[in-house]
């Protein structure tokens, strides 16, 4: 399974909840313990281990606050 990681920009998240709703693997939670500078309840990337880098959260975020990455094993390099 591909492995992924997301970064949520806390200046831009408005706590709408779409990312956590559309994440098929429940990686994102919004339990109200983190707030954005504007006072929105932040979405939090709570379960990185489940993330498969599908990117749905990023394109469903209306505020373009999420960057989704696929983690790729770097080839071993024989020389420095």
């Amino acid at each position: 399974m591909a492995r992924g990681e997301i970064v949520i920009d806390e200046n831009f998240c408005k706590g709408c909840g779409y990312c956590s709703k559309f994440c098929a693997r429940g990686c994102i939670e919004q339990n109200g313990d983190r707030f954005s500078p504007q006072g929105y309840i932040l979405a939090v990337f709570a379960h990185p281990e489940k993330c498969n880098a599908c990117g749905v959260c990023a394109w469903m975020c209306p505020d373009h606050a999420i960057e989704a990455y696929r983690l790729v094993e770097a080839q071993t390099t024989a020389h420095s």
Binding site: W59, E67, V72, A74
Partner: protein, 266 residues
């Protein structure tokens, strides 16, 4: 030195054509789908390699603020007048420009109905995008031509009834015009609908680039604050109330835009 590590490849993020204004969040309400509709349009332009020839013509509404946020040549027109402005832009630029409008439902089919209908009648080779959030968002949620029956707005406090007239279905209306090559209605309320709508957008641009006629895509957008709902509830309401009155799909697809004649798939 051997370096067993992990490389991060960006899968999805902020659209390249979206400009950040320092650390200010996008001037839209929590859960508003208009920036998502813009994302689909900007991604389509990039994928069609049309960014350099694109001219965005913006009307007056919630999307008015996007004029300074998008890295495209743009022109703002009077409320309801983007089809007039876009018609002139397309004709005077004479190149194979991709000229498209960004309008709300009020801008497009209330105050702008005259401009829209006549641009369609003239078969202007432009693409019209109507972001339909079922009310006048910027001004506090008044009744719009596309407000569903029963819906409470600040000017239908008891809910919309036939006394306030019936919702207007614009892609179906425009499909009857000879000058119109492609019309469709999509929605932003699910990943599947997002991808389907992006497909409609690319077909609309394709119809413009082969000069078949006017192309039109309506995008249903959530408007949580003016619907007096949470963002997540507004997704449900869109599914249960709005979409039944505004069916999704393609209503006209003249051959060439998608390679086959398809009167209507609804």
């Amino acid at each position: 030195m051997t370096d067993i590590g992990v490389k991060k490849e960006l899968v999805a993020g902020r659209p390249d054509l979206w400009l950040r204004m320092e650390n200010n969040p996008i001037p839209s309400c929590p859960g508003c789908h208009e920036p998502t509709a813009m994302r689909a349009i900007l991604e389509a332009l990039e994928e069609l390699d049309a960014v350099g020839d694109a001219v965005m013509v913006v009307g007056v509404g919630c999307s008015f603020a996007f004029q300074s946020m998008v890295d495209l040549d743009y022109l703002v027109c009077a409320h309801g007048r983007p089809p007039d402005g876009a018609s002139a832009v397309k004709r005077v630029l004479k190149g194979d420009h991709v000229v498209f409008t960004i309008q709300g439902d009020g801008d497009c089919i209330a105050i702008g109905a005259g401009a829209l209908i006549n641009a369609a009648a003239r078969a202007e080779k432009i693409t019209i995008f109507m972001l339909n959030n079922a009310n006048y968002g910027t001004t506090g949620g008044q009744l719009a031509p596309t407000t569903p029956l029963g819906h409470v707005t600040s000017t239908t406090p008891g809910g919309r009834t036939p006394a306030h007239g019936y919702p207007v279905r614009v892609p179906e209306l425009l499909a009857t015009f000879q000058g119109v090559a492609y019309t469709a209605r999509g929605a932003m309320n699910s990943p599947a609908n997002y991808q389907k709508t992006k497909g409609y957008i690319k077909k609309a641009f394709a119809a413009q680039r082969v000069s078949l006629g006017l192309s039109f895509v309506e995008m249903l957008c959530a408007c949580p604050p003016n619907w007096h709902m949470t963002p997540l509830d507004s997704l449900k309401w869109l599914e249960q109330t709005v979409i039944p009155q505004f069916p999704l799909g393609e209503f006209k697809d003249v051959q060439g835009a998608s390679g086959k004649t398809q009167e209507a798939t609804r």
